[in-house]
C-alpha cells in the first residue's frame, strides 16, 4: 500500500478539531531522500502537516484541522512528484451534531389501514445519517411495567411517521410508546406516551343526506329542514355522539350548534329556522361514553327550509 490515512475519529462534531496521519511506504517514496507529504482538504492545500522519517524507512505526516466546518469533506494525502501533486490516499471526513430529542410525538389509530400511526418532530438537521425508531410495549398499568414488547417500527427513509400494524396491537390495553434517534455522535429518546389505541381512533366524519319527501311523512312546518345521517362505516361498532352545526348560506350569521345527537338516525327534523332560506349543515362525531377524538366536520349539506 502506497499511502494510508488514519483519522482520530471518522465523524466529529461540526467545528471540532480532527487529527489525521498519513504513512507513506518506502516503495512509494523511492523518489528522493525526503519526499514532501502535503495535505489537501477538498481542493485546498492545508498547511501545518508535521512530517517525520520513521526508522523503518517510511514517512509519517500528521495534521490537525482545528475546526472541521464541512459536514462532508475529502481529505487527501499527497506527495510532490516533479511539478505534479500525486494523491496517495483519501479519507472522507464527516461532521455534524448528535440527534436532538424527538418531540411532539402523537399517534392516531387508523381504522382504514387498521394500524396505529405515530408521527413526531425530528428536530434540526444533524448533517449525519440519523436513524429514527418508534419503540413500544404493551402494558397493563399506566405503562410503568412492560408486559410484552412490540417489534421496533422503522419509518421509511427520511419519514417522521411510522405505522404499527394491527397484529402487534391490543386495541384496548395500554401501550407505552416513544421515539429513539441515533447517529454516529449519539442517541436521544423522546418523552414516553402511554395510550390505549382505541382511545385515539381517528374518526372520519359522518355522511349527511337530504330526505326525499314521501307520502307517509307528514309535511314540514315552515322554517324546518329534514335530513338523516350515518357515521363512517368502519366505526359503526363504536358508540358515538354527534354535533350538527348550521348557518344560512347568505349573510354573515355564525354557526348554530345542535349537540348530543345519536350517531345514526333515519329522519331528523330541524326547526326554528328562517323560512325558505338556504342553509349549510355540517356534522361531526366522537366516540362517546368511552374516550376518543372528534372527527373533522363533514362535507356540507345544502338544504332550503320550507316556506311560510
Amino acid at each position: 500500500e502506497c499511502g494510508h490515512i488514519s483519522l482520530s475519529a471518522p465523524i466529529v462534531r461540526l467545528g471540532d478539531p480532527i487529527t489525521a496521519s498519513c504513512v507513506i511506504s518506502q516503495n512509494c517514496s523511492h523518489l528522493g531522500p525526503e519526499p514532501q507529504i502535503l495535505w489537501k482538504l477538498e481542493a485546498e492545500l492545508q498547511p501545518g502537516g508535521r512530517q517525520q522519517h520513521l526508522p523503518n524507512g517510511t514517512q509519517l505526516s500528521t495534521i490537525t484541522l482545528p475546526h472541521l466546518n464541512y459536514s462532508q469533506a475529502l481529505l487527501s494525502c499527497c506527495l510532490r512528484w516533479g511539478n505534479s501533486l500525486q494523491i496517495l490516499d483519501q479519507a472522507k471526513l464527516q461532521a455534524g451534531y448528535p440527534p436532538a430529542t424527538p418531540h411532539n410525538v402523537s399517534c392516531l389509530m387508523n381504522l382504514t389501514t387498521n394500524s396505529l400511526i405515530c408521527q413526531w418532530e425530528p428536530g434540526p438537521d444533524t448533517h449525519l445519517p440519523t436513524n429514527f425508531t418508534l419503540k413500544s410495549f404493551k402494558s397493563r398499568g399506566n405503562c410503568q411495567t412492560q408486559e410484552d414488547s412490540i417489534p421496533d417500527c422503522v419509518p421509511e427513509d427520511g419519514q417522521s411517521h411510522c405505522s404499527i400494524p394491527r397484529k402487534h396491537l391490543q386495541l384496548y390495553q395500554n401501550l407505552g410508546i416513544w421515539v429513539e434517534a441515533k447517529n454516529a455522535l449519539g442517541t436521544s429518546v423522546s418523552q414516553k406516551l402511554c395510550l390505549v389505541p382505541m382511545d385515539v381512533v381517528k374518526l372520519e366524519p359522518p355522511t349527511l343526506w337530504a330526505l326525499e319527501p314521501s307520502p307517509e311523512v307528514p309535511p314540514l312546518q315552515p322554517g324546518c329542514l329534514r335530513l338523516r345521517w350515518e357515521t363512517w362505516k368502519p366505526s359503526l361498532h363504536i358508540e358515538q355522539k354527534c354535533e350538527l352545526r348550521h348557518q344560512p348560506q347568505l349573510g354573515e350569521a355564525s354557526w348554530d350548534l345542535v349537540g348530543a345527537l345519536p350517531s345514526r338516525t333515519l329522519r331528523y327534523e330541524l326547526c326554528g329556522l328562517l323560512p325558505s332560506t338556504a342553509y349549510t349543515l355540517q356534522m361531526r362525531c366522537t366516540r362517546w361514553r368511552l374516550p376518543g377524538h372528534w372527527s373533522d366536520w363533514s362535507p356540507s349539506l345544502e338544504l332550503i327550509t320550507t316556506q311560510r
Binding site: N114, L171, Y172, L236, I238
Partner: protein
Amino acid sequence: LGPASSLPQSFLLKGLEQVRKIQADSLELQERLCAAHKLCHPEELVLLGHSLGIPQASLSSCSSQALQLTGCLIQLHSGLFLYQGLLQALAGISPELAPTLDTLQLDVTDFATNIWLQMEDLGMAPASPPTPGTTLTFTSAFQRRAGGVLVAAKLQRFLELAYRVLRYLAEP
C-alpha cells in the same frame, strides 16, 4: 348488589364495543364465504358439522334468570378462547379470506385477553388459563370452508348472548 357493581363501566362499554366489532368481522367472513364458495346457509352443513365435531361454547352462567358473575366471565373467556382455537384451525382457508379471518382472530383474542385481565384485577381469575381443547382437523379445502361457515354461525349465536349479558350488566 347491582348485577355488576364490581365491574367497571368502562370495561362493560369496551366489551360491548368489542362484541359489535367481532359480530361485524364474522358477518363479513360469512358474506365472503357465501359470495366466493356458495356456502351461504349453515343449516345445509349441520350433518357435516356433526362429523367434524365443531363444539358450541356454553354461557349457562350468564342467563339473566340465574346470573353468576364469576362463572359467567369464566365462560365468556373460555368460549372466546375456544373460538380463537377454532379460527386458528381455519387458517389457509383461502387467500381472499385470510385478511378477514386474521382480523376476526385478532379481535377475538383481544376481547378474551381483556376479560382475563379484568378477572385478574378483580381476583376472579381461575388459577390457570384454559388449555386448548380438541383441535379441528380438515381434510379438504371444502371442509375448511364449511367449517368456516359453521364456526362463524356458532360464534354469532355466542356473541348475541354475550352482548345481552354485557348490556344487562352495564345498565345503570
